[in-house]
Symmetry: C2
Subunit: 503 residues, 2 copies
């Protein structure tokens, strides 16, 4: 499901094949041929296929039978809840589910969502009972001297407890039983990834409810106290290191040698693991030890170790990746950053600055929309609907500089010209001294506005900004040409930002 590579010895040489991203397909599939030599060198015969990957093809009649069996096993599992758990039944259920392809899995999930909900008749009966209880205005009483008890009070508490129990869907009981089993948590995390895929195709209320129930359960099961912090080094198992290569989402890792550099002198990599999912990093963070606050991703990624570790005064968090699509919405990165800050502070008291080097993934999208709107407003004249949208994006001196960059015969306005330049797929502007000089002031200014002022439902519009600011970090500085990769130019005109953690 996450496109982890499977290497098979075939015809006297290694062949790399990516597993069909059967289940979720949310993480990037990176089975470039470039990785082959390193795999071969490590003599690694095979990497475990991801547990939820569906078998390539199953006879439809067989699938129908399996689906019926899965449905029957679910009913059985749920109704056995008061006695000792039928472990074999649960295991069988998991195995059968994994045999289904995505279409049948989706149908199994719909059965789970629609037939394993709440007993609404019982719930309404309890509600009717609750409504008949006379409410006692207990906030008005002198509670501190309360040493006796009224029957009404007791009935309230009791009925609330019964209501709470009645509101637990049968599916959650099944999930709880599964979580008690070896491998159960990983199965459920992958099941939620399937659910996310199913929701894209079929946005049913029952599936949404199932998704939100699972999220709630994960939030309690994955309490930070249970997560184990592990420093990932070149001494770790190759199958773990390979996962890091595959999962890394911020600055893609080319191959194991590329990873080796990120684990060497002046670098750190830490992962959070859960005891119920051994060998599976739930989230990991990469750190460079630097002198001063570094603003260029390329220097951090490809430069020599930035400085002697002994003189480093800054821990630069340049990548944080969540690996499980099924754990979307569970805050793990937050705790990981804080715990790593705490650890590094103890280990290296001379390191005073804990800052990120972060992408600004939504900046160009926002900026191009802004520029396009202004082009449109200017073209369609001064209608009142437009005047509300009209705003000055550029200062006069910025407009002058931009106009001076136009080719002869190009009479487009500065806003439209900026739009054209920035939206070009080849990013030619990034290699033109003149354009760079003209674009730098407005891009920095507008990016600062984007990060600091643009909101969506009260939260920062940029998802990365929102993540760090909500975690308590502050915006430290913007970096011009911080990421000159084509991904960086496309997403944020090459800008990067440092957020500072102070805990």
């Amino acid at each position: 499901m996450r496109g982890i590579m499977r290497i098979r010895l075939g015809g006297g040489r290694f062949r790399a094949t990516a597993t069909a991203a059967g289940a979720s397909g949310a993480a990037p599939n990176k089975s470039e041929l470039g990785k082959q030599p390193f795999m071969a060198q490590f003599g690694q015969g095979s990497v475990e296929p991801p547990s939820n990957s569906a078998p390539a093809m199953l006879d439809p009649r067989h699938s129908e039978r399996l689906l019926k069996k899965v449905s029957m096993l679910m009913h059985e599992a749920v109704h056995m809840r008061n006695s000792s758990l039928p472990n074999a039944t649960l295991r069988q259920l998991r195995e059968d589910y994994l045999m289904l392809n995505m279409d049948y899995r989706q149908r199994a999930l719909i059965v789970l969502g629609t037939q394993f909900g709440v007993d609404r008749k019982r719930l309404k009966g309890l509600m009717q009972h609750y409504m008949t209880l006379n409410s006692v205005g207990n906030t008005e009483e002198t509670i501190e001297d309360k040493t006796s008890d009224s029957g009404i009070d007791a009935a309230h508490y009791r009925t609330e407890r019964d209501l709470r129990a009645a509101l637990v869907p049968l599916s959650s009981r099944l999930f709880e039983q599964m979580n008690g089993q070896v491998g159960g948590l990983k199965f459920l995390v992958d099941l939620r990834a399937d659910l996310k895929t199913a929701l894209l195709k079929n946005n049913l209320a029952s599936l949404r409810a199932l998704d939100s129930d699972l999220q709630g359960l994960f939030a309690t099961w994955l309490s930070p106290a249970c997560l184990e912090l592990h420093r990932i080094t070149w001494n770790d198992a190759a199958c773990l290191l390979e996962k890091i290569v595959t999962y890394e989402a911020v600055h893609p890792i080319t191959n194991l040698y590329d990873l080796k550099r990120r684990l060497g002198t002046g670098r750190r990599c830490f992962g959070y693991f859960h005891p119920a999912m051994p060998g599976e990093p739930l989230v990991f963070i990469e750190v460079a030890l630097t002198k001063g606050i570094e603003g260029s991703a390329q220097k951090v990624l490809f430069g020599e170790p930035p400085c002697d570790e002994a003189v480093a005064d800054c821990a630069l968090f340049y990548s944080i990746t969540s690996t499980q699509p099924g754990l979307k919405g569970i805050e793990l990165g937050n705790f990981l950053i804080k715990r790593v800050v705490h650890l590094l502070r103890q280990e290296m008291p001379e390191v005073q600055n804990f800052v990120t080097l972060s992408p600004i993934p939504g900046f160009m999208h926002w900026l191009l929309a802004k520029l396009a709107t202004q082009c449109h407003v200017q073209k369609s004249g001064d209608k009142s609907a437009n005047s509300k949208l009209s705003e000055k994006l550029l200062f006069p001196e910025e407009e002058v500089k931009l106009e001076a960059c136009r080719d002869e015969g190009n009479s487009k306005g500065p806003v439209e010209f900026m739009y054209d330049v920035l939206s070009s797929a080849e990013h030619e502007w990034a290699s033109s001294e003149k354009l760079l000089e003209a674009l730098r002031p407005p891009l920095l200014r507008l990016c600062a506005r984007y990060i600091l002022q643009e909101k969506k439902r009260g939260a920062a519009l940029d998802p990365v900004t929102n993540f760090h600011v909500r975690n308590g970090a502050s915006v430290e500085q913007l970096n011009w040409m911080g990421d000159t990769s084509s991904k960086g130019l496309a997403a944020s005109a090459g800008l990067m930002v440092n957020y500072r953690y102070r805990h």
Copy 2:
């Protein structure tokens, strides 16, 4: 609170003082002087006092002020929930609470129970809304082909989610925040121990609700996957070993030397630990490796290592102790036994039998009540009310043997004679060959009935039987004179039982 010893260097020699069992007092206080030499020998200056122990005395006005402050801090903490957690506030709240003595703690708990419940007005509003939703008989539809969604359906799921959220008491939100902090879980476990003490004095519905809420939270937080199995050995820290000595509840441990024997050759001791409560064994189990199934506690406890480990074919679980009164109702022992069985099976494939050597704590209580009833029935003649209660407890040949044991001039019936003999505080019967012989058949027979047939709400009447049978164990054998300690004679006429685990 658990009577852990504090050793202070005073007047040139060690003095042992037990902390006032301030908070819960549920675990035995065992600060016998006999422990002193070992402590001294270990050069252990002081053992951490239990975290929730109340200070000896606090000025009442100061206490009143503190209680007000605690109450205020609780309100603050709960209402901050949507933003980043005020860790300092929570820490302050914990510190202040721990400064209170038991009376004031109880008042703080009542405030928590009565003022931090459910918003009943909001809850009733949601219920009214839910009642107005037209129910769709969705079990009748052909759900498997369901690919579209009705608005009514979505409203049901949404309102159920809102109801679930509205039914979470404010106190649970506070507990969740605390659980995120270092030391938070241990604080809450000890808080629940306080709550148990408070409930003995003041059985309020609000306190009962708080207790059951906390139990539910613990059950999710202490998921088996997060518990760490640790083999406890003589290499462990003395402060941990001392806790084992203090906590052991089945066969009391006299001192650290006594414990050393239980950690030596032919023995094992395993504890379950939670990462959020380091150094605190939540439950621990003691194992003897034996040849054949041993039935005598004294042989296991005081005999030489029962056999060479290499020839052992049986792992005998002779003691399992839960240490935290605040975790009452959370099943940890169940998982611990199964995990240890699994581990030993891997380590020692020649060990085939996994059996307990267990006390029968409720047998004598049940038997004496049965005997007393029959005495009463026989005395008060043949009224119809009595005839229902009347039953033959003894076989004729057993009656004859018992009658032959009576002193001359004693004309009591065999049932009354048996009652007298067994209820004597000195257990003289256990040293009389004749009485032993006469009592053995009826005691074994009635004990088998007690264990196998006597039920309470469908579960075995004996709590230890219920625990093991519910965990999937079977009753293996009864052992005559299995525990000849006076505790064993008083609780179960010296009988012990083996339960067998087969997983």
